[in-house]
Each structure stands twice: as C-alpha cells, then as structure tokens.
C-alpha cells in the first residue's frame, strides 16, 4: 500500500494516471474515505489527468492519531501531502467536508490552488463545526441512521461484516480521538473573507440539502463561482446524482 508520512502520521495515498499529478480529491468526514472518489470520478479523470487521492488522518487506511483534527491541522496535512507529492498547483475536488477543507486550504494557500470543484460543501463560517456534527449525524441514533443511508447509497447491499467494521471505525474516530472537540474548536472565517477566493470555482448542491445556503453564500462572495443546484437531491448529492457530479468534474477539468 502506498503511504507517505505527513506531520508524523502515515497516510494512505493513491496515485492514478500519469504525472504531473494536478487533480487532488478530498473525501468527507468520518464515514468516508478515498474509495468514494476512486470508484466515481477519480479513475475516470485519471484517463486524461494525473490524480492524487489520500485518506485523511483517522480515515480509510491512514493512521488514526488521537489528536490533530482541527481544520488548521487538516489544512497543514493537505499542504504536506502536496509538498510530498510534488504538486505545485492543484485542482481540488471536495465532497461535503472535503469541500470545506478545499475552501479553507484555498484561503490559506491560494497560490497552490488552480481551481475548486465543490460538492455540497459546508463553508468554514462561524459555527461550522457544530453544524458539521449535526449534518453528518456523528453520534448516537443519528450515526446508525447515517450508516444505514451509506449502505443504500454506496455499499449496495447489507453485510454484517461491513456494517460492523464501518461502525467500529466511526466510533473509534468519534469517541477515541479529539475529533468532535477539534471540529468545534476550529478556526472559522467571516463571509467577507470568501472574497479573497479569486480562482475559478464550480459548486454543485442538492436543492433539498441543509447545506445549500453555504453554496449561495459562496456564490455571493467569491469572485468566480458557477453554482448548480440539483432538484430532488439532498446532502448526499454525490450518490443521488453520481453521473451529473462525475460528468460535471470531467467537463470542468477539460475546459
């Protein structure tokens, strides 16, 4: 398994297509990992562009340190990944929290970002950590419901082993690390700060998503945003309209 060490943490990476790697995919929080991008857009994009995927710390096949889950830690981790892989400027593609990470990274290191493609991304505005915990349903009954939804969306069919493993991993991350406290204690930005985002941005949101106001806020403040709202889709737009998202990404990168 391809691994790199960033900030003392071993991270699982996947390099697809030929060098130079210039498209970097960022997955969502807790019950997600790089495989969701791998099996949707990443392999498709890799037929024409160099692609890099990695599992965020605590996710997938990366190591799970007890601490270091604040947004600023994960921005530093992404910077370390780009440096380690020799990616000078990246097209960042992020789903849900991966989109929030992409935006925070673009605010901190605009010179390293060629463009952003965001799928139902939360924005790092005041109180985002609390909203994230609520939106994802990371604790208690809400977590079980989220796991159930994931099975419908992605894993396709029920399997005790997968269900148990997923639940075990999720609880180890939520209960065995400082993740929730770190999310709530992370940096946030005033909406005006989004005006510093001058790179081209494409954003897809679900019309029924509780995160849609974030998409509208982004379109209002950032310089160059093309916003698409898909009818009948929720926060899980990536699974509800996979083909629209994937062809949106390939079209965006081919422009």
């Amino acid at each position: 398994m391809a691994e790199i060490e960033v900030g003392g943490v071993k991270l699982h990476v996947q390099r697809l297509g030929d060098s130079p790697r210039e498209v970097v995919f960022l997955h969502g929080l807790v019950m997600d990992n790089l495989s969701s991008w791998y099996f949707t857009a990443a392999t498709r994009v890799a037929t024409s562009r160099g692609v890099l995927l990695y599992d965020l710390r605590g996710h997938g096949r990366s190591k799970r340190p007890e601490t270091g889950y604040r947004l600023e830690d994960l921005v530093a981790e992404l910077l370390g990944v780009l440096d380690a892989e020799g990616v000078e400027r990246a097209h960042l593609v992020g789903n849900s929290f991966g989109g929030l990470l992409a935006v925070a990274f673009a605010l901190a290191h605009p010179e390293r970002v060629a463009s952003l493609f965001l799928v139902d991304a939360l924005l790092p505005t005041a109180g985002w950590g609390e909203r994230m915990v609520g939106t994802l349903g990371l604790t208690g009954d809400a977590r079980d419901a989220t796991i159930g939804r994931l099975f419908e969306n992605w894993l396709g069919r029920h399997s005790e082993r997968k269900r148990n493993k997923l639940a075990k991993q999720a609880s180890a991350l939520v209960e065995g690390t400082t993740l929730l406290a770190d999310l709530r204690g992370s940096a946030s930005f005033a909406p005006d700060a989004l005006e510093a985002l001058t790179m081209p941005i494409r954003a897809i949101y679900g019309a029924e998503s509780d995160v849609l106001p974030d998409g509208r806020l982004l379109a209002e403040h950032a310089a160059d945003v093309s916003l698409t709202v898909l009818d009948g889709c929720s926060h899980s737009v990536m699974w509800e309209a996979t083909e629209a998202v994937v062809s949106g990404i390939t079209g965006w990168l081919a422009r």
């Binding site: 398994m1 996947q14 392999t43 037929t47 096949r61 894993l155 396709g156 069919r157 082993r161």
Partner: protein, 93 residues
C-alpha cells in the same frame, strides 16, 4: 501463465488485503463474489486494485478497466470477472 495461476495470485492478494479477517472455511474460486462472499469494503477493493496493478504492470490496466464500469457493476464483480480481465490483458499484451 495458466488461468489457475492467475486465480491463485488473485486469491493471495485478497488474503493480503483482508489480512486475518478472511474466513478460513471460504475457498476462493471464480464464482466468489467480492461483495456478497468476501464482503470486501470499497477501500479494501482499492487496496486490491493497487496490488493487482503493481504485480502485472502497465499492460494490465486495472484502473482503466474500473473507470469504465458503473458502480453497480463494480459491486457485482466476481473473482472470475477479474481473472477474465487479467487473462484478456495478458494475452493482448
């Protein structure tokens, strides 16, 4: 390279990915399903793809093959489907 050899190579990679979680009673053959029988998680399938790709090299374009399959088709893959693909690629290469 015989088809049987390819199957054994693939079975070895599956055991490596699943580490000690592979059911001892399960004999991997061409009908074995990744999702239903092996209960492979998606991230484990990524790890398997990496092992296959690095073992067979460029003339077996496993990632390219996956990129042409719909999600449902990937979930429905059997071990024999992957053996087929490897055999086809090796013959063509």
């Amino acid at each position: 390279m015989s088809r049987e050899q390819t199957l054994r190579t693939l079975a070895g990679f599956i055991a490596e990915v699943l580490d000690d979680e592979l059911d001892d009673d399960l004999d991997i053959d061409e009908d074995t399903s990744f999702s239903d029988d092996l209960e492979l998680e998606s991230i484990e399938f990524v790890a398997l793809a990496e092992l296959v790709q690095s073992h067979y090299g460029d003339h077996v374009d496993f990632v390219g093959w996956i990129s042409n399959l719909e999600l449902d088709a990937i979930i429905g893959l059997s071990v024999g489907d992957v053996v087929d693909f490897i055999e086809r690629s090796v013959e063509a290469g």
